[in-house]
């Protein structure tokens, strides 16, 4: 049923066995098309990072499989690059050294010069030309994360997995890096799975926003299709007629429905997560009412 999907998460579960075993999530299904940018939003502890780690192959699900490009994931792969929240640069290597480490891991037979040239190309792409001989400790937080992005891109992965990549950055740097990531991903048609806490980040970057309820026992509640045009600009986002409807729908979910969703929706089918299309009607109600009112929710449906 999901064979047409590029990535297909099929009924995965994660449980921690112990004196009292906890189920972080179970029976989780999600499909992603090639070139799609998917953001997952949910509160801390709902298992977002676990889903990402399973996709990366760093963690194994207790049940179920993830199929990528027709093959079940059996471990980490160079086809799936991870951008870590804490940048995870090797501090004893320079910027170039960090990127070259990835490049030479992917293409083991390349000689030094070829690895260097390839690494430099990606360092330049993220706007760090001239800093390639600096060590991570000499870089600002934003620059470190740029190196992390260059490292992930340099191995030309089929999928990029990002675990709250910008959450440790200040607002200004975050904005710039979001612009860069958006530009690069749109240009290269990259398939991206990203975890975030930031609603505006999700709206700006994602094609689809997956809403996850609170754990333990978290479920994927809705897949919200982003109604904003593909060529959206940061400055024009809030002028789009559906922007507030979309934003309030997500905030409403995070504030209240993420807690109550499971109890209120007993007939929720995890294999057919409802796709929500934010309607074109009544975009104005949301602007005048607080986010926790029922109105945006109703408007959204």
């Amino acid at each position: 049923m999901t064979s047409d999907k590029f990535i297909s998460i099929e009924g995965i579960a994660k449980r921690y066995e112990g004196t009292r075993s906890t189920t972080i999530f179970e029976n989780l299904w999600l499909g992603m098309a090639r070139g799609e940018f998917v953001c997952v939003i949910g509160h801390s502890g709902c298992g977002k990072t676990t889903v990402l780690n399973i996709l990366a192959g760093l963690d194994a699900p207790s049940e179920g499989v993830v199929v990528v490009d027709g093959q079940a994931i059996e471990g980490p792969s160079l086809d799936r690059a991870v951008i870590f929240q804490s940048h995870a640069l090797l501090p004893w290597r320079t910027v170039l050294g960090n990127v070259a480490y990835a490049v030479s891991s992917k293409w083991r037979k390349w000689d030094r010069a070829k690895v260097k040239a390839h690494a430099l190309k990606y360092i330049e792409l993220v706007g760090l030309a001239g800093s390639e001989h600096k060590r991570p400790s000499e870089l600002s937080g934003g620059m470190k994360q740029r190196v992390g992005i260059a490292r992930a891109l340099s191995i030309t992965p089929k999928i990029m997995l990002m675990d709250e990549p910008f959450s440790a950055l200040d607002a200004l740097t975050r904005g710039t890096l979001q612009d860069e990531v958006r530009r690069i991903c749109v240009e290269t048609g990259q398939t991206v799975f990203m975890i975030t806490h930031d609603v505006d980040e999700a709206i700006y970057l994602a094609d689809k926003i997956v809403l996850m309820t609170n754990g333990p026992g978290a479920v994927l509640a809705e897949i919200v299709e982003n109604p904003l045009p593909k060529d959206r600009l940061r400055g024009d986002l809030h002028r789009h007629p559906l922007y507030y409807a979309l934003r309030n729908h997500i905030i409403d979910f995070l504030v209240s429905r993420s807690k109550t969703f499971v109890a209120e929706t007993p007939d929720h089918d995890p294999r057919k997560v409802p796709v929500v299309k934010i309607g074109r009607t009544e975009p104005t109600i949301v602007a005048s009412k607080p986010a926790d009112s029922d109105a945006p929710q109703a408007a959204a449906r």
Binding site: G75, L78, V82, L90, W92, R135
Partner: protein
């Protein structure tokens, strides 16, 4: 600012040294001729009795003797009279040999312990019991089994320097940040390459700290070991000069033991700075 601080510290150091040497000199100087003593008796008693000279040598005596030693450090007049350079070379040679064997065993084994929780748990009781044993307690067993006093001393150096390195290596390897390991895993870096490109550089500062502790302990222990096994080495020299009642030479040996220990420590501190990375 820092230069001026260093300058001031150096001045204070020199003043302290001068005060110490002055006090030492005054405490041990001659107090003038002691009166009323038959010449034979005076001859028998030596300067201590006749001139009120302290049996403890003064700084000038030690300085003169030290200069004599430094002028000819490598003379060899038979088993009981060798230059200080030769004695120190024997001691350093033994320490290096025992220490290098310890490095060769402790670092790979520490890697294994750090990587494998099973081995770590399995070996832990042995390490906990063996670690607090005074290295000299091994000496009789070493002498009995190895049947060579010099090799026994090397064994004792090995056994005392192996633990800090083993424990630090295991700790350093076990506490390599998970995210660095994950970077290597997502890049499909094999176990062998991962050990050398991620784990070793990440654990290197901790390993070097262990090596630095070990060389300090090894140098402490060699003096005691050589006092026991005898023959050559700075420890033997100290004990031999004590038997000769040459306190001057004992003081010189103490000073040199301190200097060599400091040099060994500083050498490893240098290496340690090379592998340390700022985060």
């Amino acid at each position: 600012m820092t230069t001026s601080l260093r300058l001031r510290a150096a001045v204070v150091s020199i003043v302290l040294l001068a005060v110490f040497l002055g006090a030492w000199h005054i405490a041990t100087r001659s107090t003038g001729a002691a009166a009323n003593m038959s010449p034979e008796y005076a001859k028998l008693m030596g300067m201590t009795a006749t001139q009120g000279k302290s049996a403890m040598p003064g700084p000038l005596d030690v300085g003169a003797k030290l200069w004599e030693h430094l002028k000819r450090p490598f003379y060899d007049n038979g088993p009981n009279d060798k230059g200080l350079g030769i004695q120190l070379a024997y001691s350093i040679g033994r320490v290096m040999l025992g220490y290098l064997i310890a490095v060769a065993i402790a670092i790979p084994l520490g890697f294994l312990i750090g990587m494998s929780p099973l081995i770590s748990k399995a070996l832990d009781p042995f390490i906990q019991i063996l670690k607090p044993i005074s290295p000299l307690a091994w000496m009789p067993l070493a002498l009995y089994t190895i049947k060579d006093s010099s090799l026994s001393a090397i064994f004792v150096i090995f056994i005392c320097s192996v633990w800090p390195m083993l424990i630090n290596t295991a700790f350093g390897v076990a506490s390599v940040r998970k995210e660095w390991i994950n970077v290597a895993r997502t890049l499909e870096v094999g176990n062998f390459r991962r050990a050398f490109t991620v784990i070793l550089p990440a654990a290197a500062p901790t390993i070097l700290t262990g090596m630095r502790i070990s060389i300090g302990i090894a140098w402490l222990v060699i003096v005691a070991a050589e006092m026991l096994v005898g023959g050559t080495g700075i420890g033997y020299f100290v004990w031999n000069e004590w038997n000769n009642l040459s306190i001057t030479n004992v003081i010189i040996a103490i000073l040199l033991i301190g200097v060599v220990g400091m040099v060994l420590d500083q050498l490893l501190a240098r290496v340690s700075r090379l592998v340390t990375f700022p985060e």
